[in-house]
C-alpha cells in the first residue's frame, strides 16, 4: 500500500512539475523580453537617473485627479 501511495505521489509530483514547467514556458513567452547590449545600457542608465516626469505627463496626472474616479 505504501508503495502504491508512493507511486501515486510520484505520479502526482511528475504531473505537477510538468504543469509548472509548462506554466513557466507560457509566462516566459508572454512576459519576458531580452534587450541587446546597447539597449540594455540605455535602459539601465535611464533607471539609474533620478525619475522626473515631463510637464505634459505631470499635467495629465493632475487632470486625472480632477476628471477620473478610479476604482
Amino acid at each position: 500500500m505504501k508503495v502504491e501511495l508512493g507511486n501515486e505521489e510520484n505520479s502526482d509530483h511528475f504531473i505537477l512539475t510538468g504543469a509548472l514547467e509548462q506554466a513557466e514556458i507560457t509566462v516566459q513567452k508572454h512576459e519576458t523580453m531580452t534587450l541587446k547590449a546597447k539597449n540594455s545600457r540605455i535602459f539601465f542608465e535611464a533607471l539609474a537617473a533620478p525619475i522626473r516626469f515631463n510637464c505634459k505627463l505631470a499635467a495629465a496626472l493632475d487632470e486625472h485627479d480632477q476628471r477620473v474616479v478610479s476604482k
Binding site: 519576458t32 523580453m33 539597449n39 540594455s40 539601465f44 533607471l47 496626472l61 486625472h64 476628471r67 476604482k71
Partner: protein, 168 residues
C-alpha cells in the same frame, strides 16, 4: 468636452458593453469583444475600462495591464557590478484604445495616467521600475512619446517610462 469630462475607470466587469466598442483599429475592437474576458479569467493580464457617469455600461475606452521582466544583456562592466543578474521588473500596457465617439476628448491620456497611477501604487510593494507600452502604430507611438516614453529596443516597437530609480 462635456460628455466625456468625468470618467469612471474600473476593472472590466460583466456590466460593461464590449460588443458595441469601436475605436477604428479592428484588432483592438476584437480583443475587447473576444479575448479580454478570457485573459482576465486566466490572469494573463488585467483590463480596465473607462465609462461615463451618464452611461456607466457603455465602454468608451480601455487598457490592459500585465507584468513584464526585462532581461539585460552584456551591460558594460562599470554598470554590471551595480545590478544583480536578475531581470528588471516592469508593467506593460499591452493595449490602449478609445472609442470613435470619445476620441479627441483627452480620454486616452486619462487612461494612460490611470495605468501609471495604478502601477505607481503597487511599485513600492512589488518592485516595478518602469512602465512599458506596446504602440500599435506610429500615431500611438507619437502619443506616448509626448508623455516621455522612449523606445526600449531597436528591434521592437515597445516604449518605456522609468518609474523608480535603481538605487546604486
Amino acid at each position: 468636452m462635456t460628455g466625456f469630462q468625468n470618467l469612471f475607470i474600473t476593472p472590466l466587469n460583466p456590466t460593461h458593453d464590449r460588443k458595441g466598442f469601436q475605436c477604428g483599429v479592428e484588432a483592438l475592437d476584437r480583443y475587447l469583444k473576444i479575448q479580454a474576458k478570457q485573459d482576465v479569467k486566466r490572469r494573463i493580464g488585467r483590463v480596465f475600462v473607462a465609462t461615463t457617469p451618464d452611461n456607466p455600461k457603455a465602454t468608451i475606452g480601455y487598457y490592459t495591464l500585465s507584468t513584464l521582466s526585462i532581461e539585460l544583456n552584456q551591460l558594460p562592466e562599470k554598470l554590471a557590478w551595480k545590478w544583480p543578474k536578475h531581470p528588471v521588473p516592469a508593467a506593460l500596457i499591452g493595449r490602449l484604445a478609445v472609442s470613435n465617439a470619445a476620441q479627441g476628448q483627452g480620454v486616452g491620456k486619462m487612461l494612460l495616467a490611470d495605468a501609471i497611477k495604478r502601477t505607481l501604487a503597487v511599485s513600492d510593494q512589488i518592485a516595478i521600475y518602469a512602465i512599458t507600452v506596446d504602440a500599435v502604430n506610429e500615431k500611438a507611438k507619437g502619443f506616448c512619446e509626448q508623455f516621455g516614453f522612449t523606445r526600449l529596443s531597436d528591434d521592437n516597437p515597445r516604449l518605456f517610462l522609468p518609474l523608480k530609480s535603481i538605487n546604486l
